[in-house]
């Protein structure tokens, strides 16, 4: 049909078509040929950012302003992506946060971004906190926000501002307005007291959620609200509880026959997935939190443990020794299509799917060392982020950019050492830092954003 028609095409039509095509072809190229320069390398230096003390007209609001910018600085600094500049190097002293700054003064000290703000007490006792983020080179405001808050809540406001700055400059959602729940450990090796504890992601506001008279394990945050599940030996047998951190309301998720391990929420918070051991064989189950109906997902004589949902809820990664050694697997949320994804040397455990979906974090054991690493869900791109005598239990920040885990040191002959601390590391493997906890800590779990 087509051929017939083109055969009928008179010659001049064809010529015209070709000419037209040529015109289109050449017109499609850049109008004027600019000199092309490809940049395919760069640095990983943190961005220098100037954060001024937020202004306040009263002594209280001035103090709050100083505190707030202090928290913003420490948040951004800890992220590893920013380098807050020393305030003593500032040339311009900001006196009004609503006036455009003298950008030249900030360029001299190499600040690439500038944060100014002020705190104003309101008549109802609350504080009004406003801030502006300036692009020093583009000479324009990148973002400006204002918040009202109770004075004792200034820390959260600071985290919210830091989140806003982080998001604007990296394109990634912030993670500073979050909490971390963990197991606080104290006492001697033989009489270890384990309590459920919670803190802000920067280690501030630590609090205990259980009194330590019984053992608690495996706290996990719901990805949708401020609820955690954990396993408790309160009644003598391990039981999975659901605890609302804000209201303190607590309920038993269920009594399970056999041992139940590592419950984790589904992305919508409506289900938990866990492994249950019956007659020495662990299998992966899900349970609907409303109907309490359980579904068995794996059918294999080997040990299947530590399941974790993908953020779209369609798949589950877990850990199994069905191939002869502990390796990572991915399956559909209904248990079908099981595929092994880890093929490196050593053993792999505790896979956790990133909230961003592009990575699975895991613990790897190789030649007597422990590693925290990440790989893509198809098993490609394996990278090791940390290494030590014992690194374990990775958990993701809600933006999928930072991993926290716990690190144990070796116990020496004289009984010293053997401490356990929480550490954080960036997805790139840079910026490994301890998270300060009052005592020993293990098994951290990161909350979603609080708001």
């Amino acid at each position: 049909m087509m051929r017939g028609r083109s055969g009928l095409m008179p010659n001049w039509v064809r010529a015209l078509t070709i000419a037209l095509a040529a015109v289109v072809f050449f017109a499609a190229r850049p109008a004027s040929a600019a000199l092309q320069i490809d940049i395919n390398k760069g640095n990983l230096n943190p961005m220098p950012i100037a954060i001024t003390s937020f202004l306040g007209k009263t002594p209280e609001s001035e103090l709050a302003g100083r505190n707030i910018s202090g928290v913003i600085m420490s948040d951004l600094d800890r992220s590893g992506l920013f380098r807050p500049l020393d305030q003593r190097s500032f040339i311009q002293q900001i006196s009004d946060s609503n006036v455009a700054p003298r950008f030249g003064d900030w360029r001299i000290i190499n600040a690439q971004a500038l944060v100014v703000g002020q705190v104003t007490p309101q008549e109802d006792g609350r504080l009004k906190v406003e801030f502006r983020l300036w692009d020093v080179y583009g000479e324009q405001q990148m973002v400006g926000q204002l918040y009202f808050t109770q004075p004792d809540n200034w820390r959260r406001v600071a985290h919210l501002v830091a989140d806003e700055i982080y998001e604007r400059l990296t394109g990634e959602k912030g993670y500073f307005d979050t909490r971390i729940v963990y197991v606080a450990e104290s006492g001697s090796k033989l009489k270890r007291v384990k309590r459920l504890a919670i803190m802000d992601q920067d280690g501030a506001n630590p609090a205990f959620l259980t009194d330590g008279s019984y053992l608690v394990l495996n706290p996990r945050f719901s990805p949708t609200n401020q609820e955690i599940t954990y396993t408790s030996y309160e009644s003598g047998v391990p039981r999975v509880y659901l605890l609302n951190v804000e209201s303190g309301r607590r309920e038993v998720v269920g009594d399970f026959q056999g041992m139940t391990f590592g419950p984790r929420f589904s992305p919508d918070g409506s289900q938990i997935v866990f492994s249950r051991s019956l007659n020495g064989n662990s299998e992966v189950f899900t349970m609907d939190l409303r109907s309490r109906r359980q579904t068995r997902l794996t059918q294999d004589p080997s040990i299947d443990v530590s399941p974790s949902f993908s953020p779209d809820g369609a798949r589950i990664t877990f850990n199994s020794d069905r191939g002869g050694s502990q390796q990572l697997y991915v399956m559909n949320a209904d248990g079908g299509n099981v595929q092994r994804i880890s093929f490196g040397e050593g053993r792999y455990a505790t896979p956790v799917w990133s909230p961003r979906g592009d990575y699975i974090a895991f613990t790897k054991m190789l030649r007597g060392s422990f590693y925290i690493g990440v790989m893509h869900p198809d098993g490609s791109g394996e990278r090791i982020l940390t290494e030590s005598f014992r690194d374990e239990g990775p958990t993701w920040a809600p933006n999928g950019r930072v991993v926290v885990f716990f690190r144990q040191t070796a116990t020496r002959r004289d009984g010293s050492g053997g401490s356990s601390r929480i550490w954080s590391v960036d997805l790139t493997g840079y910026n490994e830092r301890p998270v300060i906890t009052p005592g020993d800590a293990s098994d951290p779990a990161w909350s979603p954003l609080i708001r």
Binding site: P30, S32, A34, L35, Q36, I37, D38, I39, N40, K41, G42, N43, L44, N45, M47, N110, Q112, D135, Y137, G138, M142, E167, R168, L169, T170, G171, E172, G344, E345, R356, D358, L366, R367, Y371, G373, G381, E382, R383, I384, L385, T386, E387, R401, D426, L427, T428, G429, Y430
Partner: protein
């Protein structure tokens, strides 16, 4: 007749000589073919080719040897040493702590030419530490690999493709194909840009974060034309990662201004530059 004989004899003699001179060896003992040496007439070309200088880490890596068919000294033989191109303000101090390490050093490439650029802080040799704690050198072209923190020996045995990751502290950054020594103004700009541009490391899908920015330079390296995105339509699509990458690229150009241009290289083309920020190679996207 005599002439014919003379010609005949002459031709035969010629053939005989050719047999000796031109086809000398049908013998089996051919000399071993040396490794491929890229012999090129190196002139100041259009493309910068600065050889990266590696100082090999002092770890025994026997399995590394076969993977390097081109012994480094061969290159040194081909190319004249660098000093006249890059006058060295001060020689890079050899890291003494590396020598103090007890381990043997089977591979020693120190004989190479030294081309010290101003050493960057991250390339400085680290103080003596337990070997496993050793910081990996920063090489912008291998960021994806460097992000992998498995100790080198594990890497080497773990995944063959990662063998090349094992690098020592580097004295210079490589620019271009690292086969010669040339520099062009275009690459001078690119090299400066690489120092100003912060890679969007850790962001998902680096292939989606390629940013094109158009700007112009005056003869003194200042901006003749403010940087602007070529592809503004994408900005409107509201991908926060792309927007951040775009802002970041424009900021990098500002940070780098004024560019330091070698004298006499500026030409009117520089009034219209399109810079293509492509993080894929560095981030392994």
């Amino acid at each position: 007749m005599r002439r014919g004989v003379a010609i005949s004899v002459g031709l035969h003699a010629l053939v005989a000589v050719l047999t000796i001179v031109a086809f000398p060896s049908f013998t089996p003992e051919l000399p071993p073919i040396p490794p491929n040496i890229p012999v090129e007439l190196v002139t100041i070309g259009d493309v910068t080719n600065i050889k990266k200088i590696d100082k090999v880490e002092d770890q025994p890596k026997p399995e590394e040897k076969p993977s390097e068919p081109e012994p480094e000294p061969m290159r040194t033989a081909v190319l004249p040493p660098a000093p006249e191109l890059k006058p060295a303000p001060e020689p890079v101090p050899p890291p003494p702590e590396l020598k103090l390490e007890p381990e043997p050093k089977p591979v020693e490439k120190k004989a190479e030419e030294k081309k010290p650029e101003p050493p960057k802080p991250e390339t400085k040799p680290t103080p003596p530490q337990p070997p496993k704690k050793k910081e990996q050198a920063f090489d912008a072209s291998k960021i994806a690999a460097l992000l992998n923190k498995l100790p080198p020996k594990e890497k080497a045995t773990d995944q063959g493709e990662e063998k090349k990751v094992v690098t020592g502290p580097q004295q210079t950054e490589a620019v271009g194909e690292a086969t010669g020594m040339t520099a062009s103004a275009k690459d001078a700009i690119a090299a400066q840009m690489q120092r100003c541009w912060t890679l969007p490391a850790g962001a998902p899908n680096p292939q989606d974060l390629i940013v094109r920015v158009r700007f112009g330079l005056n003869e003194d390296g200042t901006l003749a034309r403010a940087p602007e995105l070529t592809d503004t339509a994408r900005l409107a699509m509201g991908d926060p990662y792309y927007n951040a990458a775009a802002n970041n690229a424009i900021r990098a150009i500002h940070v780098c201004t004024p560019f330091k241009l070698p004298p006499g290289v500026w030409n009117p083309d520089f009034k219209d530059i399109e810079m293509n920020f492509d993080p894929r190679a560095a981030l392994g996207g």
